[in-house]
Amino acid sequence: MIETLLDPFAYAFFVKGVIVATLAGGLCGLIGVYITLRGMSYIGHGLSHAIFGGFAASSIINLNYYLGAGIWGIASALAINRVTRTRRIGADAAIGVITTASFALGIALLTIFGNKGPSFDAALFGSIIGVSEADVWALVGITGFTAVVIFLNYRQLLVATFDPEVADVSGVPVARTDALLMLVLSLSILATLTVIGVTLVAATLVIPAVVARMLTNRFSRMLWLSTAIGATSGLVGMNLSYHLDVPSGTTIVLTGAVVFLVVLQVTGSKGLRRAAQLDSHPEPAPAAAFKRLPAPK
């Protein structure tokens, strides 16, 4: 049994795949906390689709994937941020227009000019094969950069996520902090796309954060729990991918989903209550204290 589990570690491509999947899961888990608490889960989904446009364009003109798709993704993220800030159209509409148009453009380019880079299926659902050493180092670099950004901006990111108005009053550069978060989100999606896939990246951002929220009421604890759950899902999911011969993105997401179900069983309604309305601003419980008096007769 153990031999069967350890067998694939004899292959260099699998070791690279496991390292990338574990790092990618942890990275998405870390960023996912901010994304879910800000109600930006849809942005993760949209950005991965937007980056697919850059992936297609850079593949056609033989440009480095990280450079082409990276510029494309960051430009999309900043465009979404800018359109949303104008408040003329809602964030969901802005994401819908910008990212799906970019995704459609990517498909059109690949259909017309053909694909010269990683396979179409691999881009959509993730693949264990074809993870190069450069991919590993790129992900290590982006994970390190993201961890440093979050460590050094922990307080500012927390208050800007919880209460942007008070953050503004407290001297936090909210627009710069938001842009920084979009930058690390774009880079994280870019670095994890080849392993997890365009269609499944959003789940790796959301599931670990939701599970972590079900387990704790403390923000700092939620951050490391979500990172650990994401990394574990990546590690286990990548092994399952090899043994079941199923795309890695699929098994990573399904592993996360199983963890969610287990935690749901353990925490019950308490966990669900914590995870419900993660980004909402509901009325507090005492709001019902006032009742309007009837008019005098």
């Binding site: 460590f151 919880f162 503004d168 407290s170 005492p286 709001a287 204290a289």
Partner: protein
């Protein structure tokens, strides 16, 4: 709050300020001065510009015309409406209060910060609730937590947006008592409120606002039928009870409110 020459006393001066949001004028020709020992309530209907006035004082909005001048070194802290807070956000009371200290780069609090947080929570009577999640507090405790967060900045001016909205009568009394104490210790306080009888009548100074300042001064000068009708756009009756003004809707003989 008075418009007088008291340069040493004033913290913020708003002169001839006009503010529009999405090209819709919200405030016009505002002239107000925030003094060091103010305890002022801003009253007015929804959409009268109360929150925009707070934003001008906070410095998060700038007037299109006129000026808002802040005395150098003046720190202003803000307590949001309870209704606008995401109570499901995963923070404990201590984490929430510590949010007003954003200067330190390290995520964890220093020993001095821990002491400051414990002290301010104890000062506000919620010293034993630091490790609770913010949703587990009562309405009054939630309000005290946000005041604690504001006080941790050691501000000269505290702004509160509808601090008594959504809390019961007993808690409202406690809140006004607490704010009165803080004002007595030298903190200037401006708050917005809809509640004329429960809050405004108990404050030493009021500003009636409806896009512009309709009237300002003592409760006796502001809580009167003429000013309130111009402010709220509906006729009211003002009675006196134990020396305090009491506002009533005006009804016709069939018991219908007169609009």
């Amino acid at each position: 709050m008075t418009i007088r020459d008291s340069a040493q006393l004033s913290l913020i001066r708003i002169v001839d300020a006009t503010f529009a949001y999405n090209r819709r004028p919200v405030l016009k020709d505002i002239n107000l001065t925030v003094d060091r020992h103010d305890f002022v309530g801003v009253v007015g209907p929804s959409g009268s510009g109360k929150t925009s006035l707070l934003r001008l004082l906070l410095g998060t909005a700038r007037p299109q015309q006129g000026s808002v001048t802040r005395e150098p070194g003046t720190d202003v802290a803000y307590v949001p409406q309870l209704e606008t807070v995401n109570w499901n956000f995963p923070v404990t009371v201590e984490e929430c209060v510590l949010m007003s200290r954003t200067g330190r780069r390290l995520p964890w609090p220093s020993r001095a910060e821990r002491t400051d947080v414990a002290d301010v929570l104890a000062r506000l009577g919620i010293g034993d609730l630091g490790r609770r999640h913010i949703r587990e507090l009562s309405g009054g405790q939630q309000q005290r937590m946000f005041i604690a967060r504001a006080l941790l900045r050691r501000p000269q001016l505290l702004l509160l947006d509808e601090p008594t909205s959504g809390i019961d009568v007993g808690t409202r009394h406690d809140m006004l008592h607490l704010l009165g104490e803080l004002n007595g210790q030298g903190l200037a306080i401006w708050l917005t409120t809809h509640d004329l009888n429960g809050v405004a009548a108990h404050l030493p100074q009021l500003v009636a606002l409806h896009q512009t300042v309709i009237a300002s001064g003592s409760p006796g000068a502001v809580i009167c039928p003429d000013v309130l009708e111009r402010t709220f756009g509906a006729p009211v009756e003002v009675l006196e009870h134990l020396g305090m003004p009491v506002v009533l809707d005006r009804y016709d003989e069939q018991g219908r409110a007169i609009a």
